[in-house]
């Protein structure tokens, strides 16, 4: 994906990265449990790299904390993401990256739902359907080329 190739959106709007979360005294206390909340889930996905730009999904405002819903007690997570432009050809790939990141990072008890923010993409339903289909996600990850791109998105930026 580096170098050559046609980029969909050359000069996108960029947003500021929120910094590392400061550690509170409560979190350092061995005894008190911390529940998994929206902020923690957002921290997981905000640093995912965009497949096209050397920017993170947070900087492109593709993911926002308000679009993350988690219920720790019921073990459910729902994430909405917003492609930068309605015809973004990378939407499925971005969704797949978010989904894979969450599957790898959350306890197995969680049910993960990733979909496009309603009304922000031309082929919203197709993409959502693909992302919700377990077998298609599994099959996509069997594909070496796709896996490579997803892994690049999930690698820590050097």
């Amino acid at each position: 994906m580096k170098g050559g190739g046609k980029v969909d959106n050359v000069n996108p709007l960029i947003y500021r990265r929120s910094g590392e979360r400061p550690v509170t005294a409560r979190e350092e206390d061995d005894e008190l449990p911390d529940t998994i909340n929206d902020h923690e889930i957002f921290d997981l996905i905000r640093s995912i790299n965009d497949p096209e730009h050397p920017l993170t999904l947070e900087e492109l405002n593709v993911v926002e904390q308000v679009r993350v819903k988690v219920t720790d007690a019921e073990s459910t997570v729902a994430v909405e993401f917003t492609p930068t432009i309605p015809h973004c050809s990378m939407a499925t790939l971005i969704g797949l990256s978010i989904k894979v990141k969450l599957i790898r990072s959350l306890p197995e008890r969680f049910k993960v739902d990733v979909h496009i923010t309603p009304g922000t993409h031309a082929s919203e339903h197709t993409v959502n359907k693909q992302l919700a289909d377990k077998e298609r996600v599994a099959a996509a990850l069997e594909n070496t080329h796709l896996l490579e791109v997803v892994n690049q998105c999930l690698s820590a930026r050097s």
Binding site: G4, L13, I14, P33, L44, L147, N151, L154, S155
Partner: protein, 912 residues
């Protein structure tokens, strides 16, 4: 050989070589010989060779044409460079010479594995670059080549082209560049705008800067146009409009390009600032959102910093002068904005603005100081407040009157009047802020003379109990005093002022407290609390370390006699109810007075080594006695540290030997049994450290004693912990900053001497005592420089692995912290133990202590640095096991688990 060669022969030899030998059909070694012959002749027979004129150049071109071996190329590149630099006649062969070398550009060479010649790609790149960038004559051929290669898909080719361009700019002038400027600019712009690589961006920017510097340097002919001017105009034309879109991606690359060009010279900076600064100011006012304003202000800050870098302008010529009023109002509006992020940038801009010479008039400065004062006193965000203090400290030496008259004035008034209606908590935090600000702004000798009396006044009030929350306030005051002391150290005048003002005052207050304790228990006790005394130590220490020997000696006699003989005369307001005899009296008041030994320690242990201490022998014996016999651990440790600090600086000789003998004799019975075993151990540890640092032979004997004590049932654990004291830097005594005798490699030396015995002791020890040895070992290892650790690792690794199973948390933690860096630095050795490492780390992720779970997960993360083939067999197991900490009850643990598991998933996967 060359010396005996008759004149003229060199030329004949070379002619023969050029005419008769077809060099490129020879073997590599023989070709190398030909190059060596030519190079040797160039060294010794320069005049003769130059007589050959352009024939020599042509001859050499034919010799090297088609060369392929990197070893020969390195020599050939050198010869060509010398041809050019030493000004041999190139004649009509400039283009041929360029062709015969530039065909290697960009260098594409990977040394074969196990290459015995050790030639790196980098060597060839540098060699070739020194040829290509050596002369302006090549410019017309080279620049098109560079422009072409910048467009390459290979990042290495891009980087090489950019770096070569930068090198060329050092020798080129306007004439060479003129024709190519538009295409160079468009290539550079493309690289910076579109690249994904920070390296390419950085090289692109520095090439642009070099280009701009080169154009600024050239002398203008009277009729010629100024290329710099037209070049910068085209830059501005292409970049300016992006600066007006603070949300878009290209805003920063554009700003960086302009800043790179502006940073090249004052002239360039002037022209760009004159155009960009007013634009940015206008944009700031047009964009109301704070995030956009922040981006604009950050760019503005960059341009102002460049202005600062180029130094003061001629008064009437400063491009900022015209927009000064708007600039001030923009910056002042930023520092009053509710958004903290914008505020912080505003504060940084304030600092640069204040430091620009000849821009602000006194009224502006007063306004600036008032803004800082407001931020320091009333801003709720602690980051902004801290930043404002820092700026105040940086600007205070430039405008001492303004800061003294305004900020310091306001702060000291604030400290005097504590409003009663506020809750205690906020009252205290406000108080601390004022103290910190006073310290921060004390960066000028005049201001120090205003702030120190205020701080001391606070201390007096603290002693009388008139300030919020007792000992904490004393600690805050002392922290401020210490900061002032450190800032005064570089200026002898301020340093001596500080010493004279602060040391007697602190001692006086403490002595007074020590005497009062009995008569009125509540009053003045604050200063004797451990916390308060510990906070005073660094103040006194910092006030003593940089004194000149004469002044220090004068002060030392006062202080030592105070403690030995109770001479109170030099203390301020000396009306003391009773005598001060910390070492003699065994009654109750002396108990309190003895605690002040820690202040004595701070004083005498920080003096430079050449300062004589009066009655040193008597003092040492008193300290020795006190350290072994005192019931209070605080006092005993202070005395032991003081003793150790003096022993460390004591000149070698029989006196020192006797002293140490006496100390050891005194120690031994107490160490064996009795109520003061722990005190004796503390003394032993400190004296061992003092001797260890200066490589004294007795340290080996004392170390033996410590090792033997590790097996002791009662003292063993304390001795194990004591090893960290031996290895760590201690902040108050026995450190470089207080002039202690510290040898460079003492840690390594201690390591080589003690570790084999620790290992032996571990194997021989009773099961209960094994943990003590492991504790000692892990302390030694964790303080050792990494390179040493890596070489010693193979012998110790088995022990460390055993330490991982030790139930003691301290051992587990320090072992994990010790292993983690090794996983990065010594993957080969660690690979051998991967099986044990994986299983032990995984089992520690279930430890009840959160810190250990975190450390174990970090180690599992670090494991991924080992070669993948070693790890892949464990991948399924680790990924499965790491699912559990993903559901840990603590967020910080989950965070590490996510990071570690993510890396393990990527192992052996494409796209890692």
């Amino acid at each position: 050989m060359c010396e005996v060669l008759a004149p003229g022969l060199a030329v004949s030899v070379l002619r023969a070589v050029f005419q008769e030998v077809h060099v490129q059909s020879l073997l590599q070694l023989d070709r190398h010989t030909v190059y060596s012959i030519i190079r040797n002749f160039m060294r010794t027979r320069e005049e003769e060779l130059k007589g050959l004129g352009a024939d020599f150049t042509f001859g050499f071109i034919q010799v090297m044409d088609g060369e392929k071996d990197p070893r020969n190329l390195l020599v050939a590149f050198q010869i060509v460079r010398d041809l050019i630099v030493q000004e041999y006649t190139l004649g009509p062969f400039v283009e041929e010479l360029f062709e015969v070398t530039s065909c290697y550009f960009p260098i594409d060479f990977t040394p074969p594995p196990n290459d015995p010649h050790g030639i790196q790609r980098e060597d060839l790149i540098v060699g070739l670059r020194s040829v290509l960038a050596s002369t302006p004559l090549f410019a017309e051929f080279l620049l098109p080549l560079l422009i072409e290669k910048m467009d390459s898909d290979l990042q290495s080719a891009k980087l090489d082209s950019l770096q070569t361009l930068r090198a060329c700019c050092a020798v080129y002038g306007q004439r060479e560049l003129k024709e190519f400027l538009p295409s160079l600019w468009s290539s550079l712009r493309r690289e910076v705008f579109q690249t994904a690589s920070e390296k390419v961006e950085a090289e692109g920017l520095s090439a642009l800067q070099a280009l701009s510097a080169c154009l600024s340097r050239s002398v203008l002919s009277s009729d010629g146009e100024d290329l710099l001017d037209s070049f910068l105009t085209s830059l501005l034309q292409d970049c300016r409009h992006h600066l007006c879109e603070p949300d878009m991606k290209l805003v920063w690359p554009s700003a960086k390009l302009l800043q790179a060009a502006a940073g090249a010279s004052r002239r360039a900076g002037h022209q760009i600032s004159a155009s960009v600064v007013p634009l940015l100011l206008e944009q700031y006012n047009q964009h109301p959102q704070s995030s956009q304003r922040r981006t604009i202000l950050e760019m503005l800050l960059g341009f102002l910093e460049l202005q600062q870098k180029h130094g003061p302008e001629e008064a009437d010529d400063n491009p900022l002068l015209g927009s000064k009023a708007t600039l001030c109002s923009v910056v002042f509006s930023a520092v009053t904005d509710p958004s903290v992020q914008l505020q912080l940038v505003g504060i940084r801009t304030l600092a640069v603005l204040g430091a620009l010479r000849g821009l602000l008039n006194p009224a502006d400065v007063e306004l600036l100081v008032d803004h800082l004062t407001r931020l320091i006193l009333h801003e709720e965000d602690s980051k902004s407040c801290e930043a404002a203090m820092e700026v105040a400290g940086a600007l205070a030496p430039l405008y001492p009157e303004a800061f003294s008259g305004r900020l310091v004035q306001v702060l000291s008034e604030e400290l005097q009047t504590a409003p009663q209606e506020e809750p205690l908590q906020s009252q205290h935090s406000r108080w601390r802020r004022c103290l910190q600000a006073l310290a921060a702004v004390s960066t000028h000798s005049g201001i120090v003379r205003d702030t120190v009396p205020v701080l001391l006044q606070c201390l007096r009030r603290a002693q009388k109990g008139n300030v919020p929350s007792g000992a904490h306030s004393v600690v805050s005051i002392c922290q401020s005093l210490q900061r002032v002391a450190v800032q005064c150290q570089q200026d002898p005048g301020s340093g001596w002022y500080f010493h004279q003002a602060v040391v007697p005052c602190l001692l006086g207050l403490a002595v007074q407290a020590g005497m009062q304790e009995n008569s009125s228990p509540a009053l003045g006790k604050v200063l004797l609390e451990e916390e308060a005394l510990t906070a005073m130590v660094p103040v006194i220490s910092a006030a003593c370390t940089h004194l000149s020997p004469e002044l220090a000696a004068q002060s030392a006699s006062h202080v030592v006699l105070l403690f030995l003989d109770g001479e109170l005369a030099f203390l301020p307001d000396n009306s003391f109810p009773r005598s001060f005899q910390p070492f003699q009296n065994r009654q109750c008041p002396a108990l309190a007075q003895r605690r002040l030994v820690s202040l004595l320690m701070a004083f005498v242990c920080s003096l430079p080594r050449n300062v004589p201490i009066p009655q040193l022998d008597r003092l040492l014996h008193e300290l020795l006695a006190l350290s072994c016999s005192c019931d209070c651990p605080f006092t005993a440790t202070a005395a032991a540290k003081c003793f150790a600090g003096l022993v460390n600086k004591h000149p070698p000789g029989s006196q020192l030997d006797e002293l140490l003998e006496a100390a050891v004799n005194r120690l031994e019975p107490d160490l064996a049994e009795g109520p003061h075993r722990h005190q004796a151990l503390a003394l032993l540890l400190w004296v061992t450290k003092a001797l260890l640092l200066r490589y004294h032979p007795l340290s080996a004997r004392l170390t033996d004693k410590l090792l033997a004590l590790l097996g002791d049932v009662a003292l063993g654990p304390a001795v194990g912990d004591g090893f960290s004291l031996l290895m760590a830097d201690s902040p108050d005594v026995l450190c470089k900053s207080c002039h202690a005798d510290v040898r460079l490699m003492f840690r390594q030396r201690f390591f080589t001497e003690s570790v084999p015995r620790l290992v032996k002791g571990f194997h021989a020890a009773a099961p209960d005592a094994k943990a003590n040895y492991l504790k000692g070992l892990s302390h030694v290892l964790s303080h050792l420089p990494k390179p040493v650790l890596v070489t010693e690792l193979p012998t110790l690794l088995s022990l460390l692995l055993e330490a991982l199973s030790c139930p003691d948390c301290v051992v587990q933690l320090s072992t994990l912290r010790c292993l983690q860096p090794l996983l990065h630095d010594a993957p080969d050795v660690m690979s051998l133990h991967v099986d044990t490492l994986v299983s032990k780390f995984l089992s520690l992720t279930e430890s009840p202590a959160m810190v250990i779970r975190i450390a174990a997960l970090q180690c599992l993360h670090a494991l991924t640095h080992l070669p993948p083939p070693v790890l892949l067999p464990y991948k399924p197991q680790v990924i499965r096991a790491l699912a559990k900490p993903l559901d840990d009850k603590k967020r910080l643990v989950r965070k590490e688990a996510v990071a570690a598991r993510g890396e393990w998933f990527l192992l052996g996967s494409p796209g890692r």
